[in-house]
């Protein structure tokens, strides 16, 4: 394999994907030559346009819906690929025929309650639509990007370039592995995964062309607030100094919050639709979509310009009578600020926590959307949970007063199109600085100059570049520690589940490429019979070492995840035999975690995170 000519970064987003690249041959140190690939995609039947973003939507057309050749792309497609259209046309067609539209595949990929390899999307499609799995949909977007690259750069085959794909920092090991699987299925080789908030910081570092060293100093704690189209993601990155060189360390990541900019536009559209309904005008699905677009524009205008009091929204008629049939309405500044600022970014106390409501007994199979829309409340909970994140960090001892109730960030980096509205970024800054003021800490500053839409893809390309040896790298390792449940040896008490202990199988901060063995603990596994373990993760227990057995833990400390499963294949053994195995944990180079059961004779079996719900 020849040396790569480009470092490629791919942002596989919930609503949009993008590909950015750095030219390795013309880049040197912190001066990089980079670009964003224009992605050919169908925008209407038979019409191909090159757009900087690929909407992450897949439309599964009816056999009679498109004339032959109308869904051709500039490259050869397999029959399977022909069965679905990805990109802008999928999004616009899907608005009028939602039963054939696959959307938010990425959120489904991280949905622990479903079998993510089974064909379940679109989840409200009628019987005759051939559904696809969240994994397959992600594969489709990734392979579309790969082919777009190969078409534009025949001289630099994709498989030979250094490629990075981004994932939310909050993805659990199962979702990370599924993303890696999707990438492999799309023909990606040797790829590392990168957390999106880290990518945003990389992009900021790259964009500053070296000036970042003046803007951050040792001892800084950077809070990255990434509000994408469909998810919100928080990370904390501490800036250390080692041998005179600044070294950012990612010290904590937040939980997965399904709440993003699209929810805000949709919420506004419903507000306006209710106003219209009160006057006797009902909107259909097509008009709702037009209204949502209108609301997005109105929101951006009203939040950006204080002199504008109202912004008109026109929902065009469905039929050809545009003038008589269009509906005119408007959005006022008051409505937007109450709805968006107070609804999604309320000014709350540092002690505020997101409301958790009991789910109704019977829930439909659907995405587990955040129940509390207040992003600032999620943020308060995150910072409070991570109050001890820097306690054992070199150079951070005593920086924070002992009675602090939350971790004090010193700088904030925003990412995501939502923050094009300065007002929203200012609201978060103001809220955090109020919290800091109440605890007598210095206000945090905002790191400016980020490219809000393409930062993740750009940062990922830059990461592919720095992995090759030039430029600054963010350290961190795994962002959680992991545990399996062990039933404690106790006499059975009627009516009570036996209490469990949690055995640490992978400690916090495992560096890429490291492997450790669980000492003193052997499990007897029956050959040919799958064995399941209850599996837990913790984003706060940094001190636990592998093999530590916990009897007690705080209610928020350990989060139960999907069960994991090991099946000993009967190869060379007799089914039914019991084999003594030890558990090994590996943090792979590609950024995933792997657990393996290893027999005394060295044979190993992979422990699956992604157990099929049979």
């Amino acid at each position: 394999m020849s040396d790569p000519r480009y470092a490629i970064g791919i942002d596989l987003g919930t609503t949009h994907s993008a590909l950015s690249y750095v030219n390795l041959q013309t880049s040197d140190g912190e001066k990089t030559q980079h670009g964003v690939l224009a992605i050919p995609q169908l925008t209407a039947p038979g019409t191909i346009e090159e757009l900087p973003l690929l909407p992450s939507f897949l439309y599964l057309p009816h056999a009679d819906e498109l004339a032959p050749g109308e869904n051709n792309l500039p490259w050869q497609q397999t029959a399977e690929e022909q069965a679905g259209v990805a990109g802008e046309m999928a999004r616009s067609r899907g608005a009028t025929t939602p039963i054939r539209l696959v959307s938010s595949a990425k959120s489904w990929l991280s949905h622990p309650g479903v079998d993510r390899r089974s064909a379940l999307l679109p989840n409200d499609a009628p019987e005759e639509v051939a559904r696809v799995s969240p994994l397959e949909a992600s594969t489709r977007y990734l392979s579309h990007l790969r082919k777009a690259w190969e078409q534009a750069h025949p001289e630099a085959p994709f498989g030979e370039q250094a490629v990075t794909v981004t994932i939310p920092a909050s993805f659990d090991p199962g979702a990370r592995e599924l993303t890696a699987d999707a990438a492999r299925a799309a023909g990606y080789t040797n790829l590392p995964l990168l957390e999106e908030p880290q990518a945003a910081l990389y992009s900021w570092i790259q964009g500053s062309e070296g000036r970042w060293r003046k803007e951050v100093k040792p001892g800084d704690i950077i809070l990255v607030v990434d509000v994408g189209g469909g998810t919100s993601d928080f990370s904390l990155i501490a800036v250390l100094e080692r041998d005179g060189v600044l070294e950012p360390h990612r010290i904590a990541v937040g939980d997965h919050i399904l709440l993003g900019g699209d929810n805000m536009d949709l919420a506004l559209a419903h507000l306006v639709a209710r106003k219209l309904a009160a006057n006797g005008t009902q909107l259909d699905a097509w008009q709702m979509r037009a209204l949502t677009y209108g609301c997005r524009t109105a929101k951006e205008k009203l939040l950006a310009d204080e002199t504008v009091a109202t912004w008109p929204i026109v929902v065009p008629s469905r039929g050809s009578k545009l003038i008589g049939g269009s509906i005119r309405t408007e959005l006022t500044r008051d409505e937007v600020s109450t709805f968006i600022l107070d609804g999604f970014f309320p000014k709350v106390e540092a002690s505020a926590r997101p409301a958790v409501r009991q789910r109704a007994g019977l829930t439909q199979l659907g995405l587990p959307y955040a129940q509390d829309a207040g992003i600032t409340r999620h943020l308060a909970a995150f910072l409070a949970r991570q109050v001890g994140a820097t306690a054992e960090l070199e150079g951070y001892a005593g920086k924070q007063s002992a009675d602090a109730t939350f971790l004090h960030p010193t700088a904030v980096l925003f990412n995501g199109g939502v923050f094009k509205s300065d007002l929203l970024a200012q609201r978060i800054m103001g809220t955090i600085n109020d919290w800091l003021y109440m605890e007598g800490a210095e206000p945090a500053r905002m790191l400016g100059g980020a490219d809000l839409d393409l930062a993740v893809a750009r940062g990922a390309a830059y990461y592919s570049y720095v992995r090759r040896g030039s430029g600054v790298r963010i350290r961190g390792g795994t962002a959680r520690s992991y545990y399996v449940a062990i039933e404690s040896a106790m006499p059975a008490i009627p009516g009570m589940e036996p209490p469990i202990q949690a055995l640490c199988v992978a400690p916090f901060g495992m560096e890429e490429g490291s492997e450790i063995e669980l000492p003193n603990q052997e499990f007897g596994l029956v050959v040919g019979e799958p064995v399941q373990f209850r599996f837990f993760g913790s984003s706060v227990r940094r001190q636990d070492q592998i093999g530590d057995l916990l009897d007690f833990w705080g209610p928020d400390e350990l989060i139960e995840m999907n069960e994991i499963q090991a099946t000993l294949s009967p190869e060379g053994r007799v089914a039914g035999d019991v084999v003594q195995v030890r558990l090994h944990a590996m943090a792979t180079e590609s950024g995933t975690l792997e657990l393996a059961a290893v027999a005394n004779d060295g044979q190993r079996w992979k422990v699956e995170f992604d157990v099929r719900n049979a």
Partner: protein, 194 residues
């Protein structure tokens, strides 16, 4: 969006044309192909919009050739204007039946959509960067296609006058590519909801 005949470029503008052509040949295979064909026959690029019948400046009495714009690009643009701005719907209606408020509401859709099409598919720049109303001087050999003289047009260059319109130029056209069998005359398909 004029795309008509131009006088021969000056030496300095030829330098920039040569450099531009050099880089574009490297990056744009289609352009390179056109360039390699340039000596064969003067095949003009299809104009993106309505035909601008341009008589070639005839130094010698050569036969006047008029080029015919291909309808596909024009149809494609109409289809974009309809899709994004409902322009055909708008112009097909009889305005006398409606109040100005209704027309105004629809005009917002048309305005916003047309602006989007222009922004996405063309790079439109003013020809003159000076403020309208300011006095400017046109040197000898100015581009008569890009600057139109009006009023008291006498004497010879350099001409001094007031800029009444800045003019517009499309520096770049990015129309979508079409599938081989695509029927561009369908500007907007009929829609049937099942």
């Amino acid at each position: 969006m004029t795309n008509s005949n131009q006088p021969l470029p000056s030496f300095f503008s030829r330098i920039s044309i040569a450099i531009g052509a050099f880089f574009r040949t490297l990056s744009d295979a289609e352009y390179a192909a056109r360039l390699s064909r340039i000596d064969e026959a003067p095949q003009p690029v299809a104009a993106p919009v309505a035909p601008a019948p341009a008589p070639a400046p005839a130094p010698a009495p050569a036969p006047v050739t008029l080029r015919v714009a291909t309808p596909d690009a024009a149809l494609q643009l109409l289809s974009l204007f309809q899709r994004e701005a409902r322009l055909i719907d708008f112009t097909q209606e009889n305005l006398s039946a409606y109040s100005d408020a209704d027309i105004g509401a629809a005009a917002r859709v048309v305005h916003e959509g047309c602006a989007k099409v222009l922004k996405e598919h063309f790079t439109i720049q003013p020809i003159r960067s000076e403020a309208e109303g300011s006095r400017i001087e046109l040197p000898e050999g100015f581009d008569a296609a890009a600057v139109r003289l009006t009023g008291n047009v006498v004497g010879k260059a350099p001409f001094k006058g007031t800029l009444s319109h800045r003019g517009w130029r499309s520096a770049e056209v990015r129309l979508p590519k079409l599938a081989e069998a695509h029927d561009a005359s369908i500007l907007a398909p009929a829609e049937v909801e099942l």
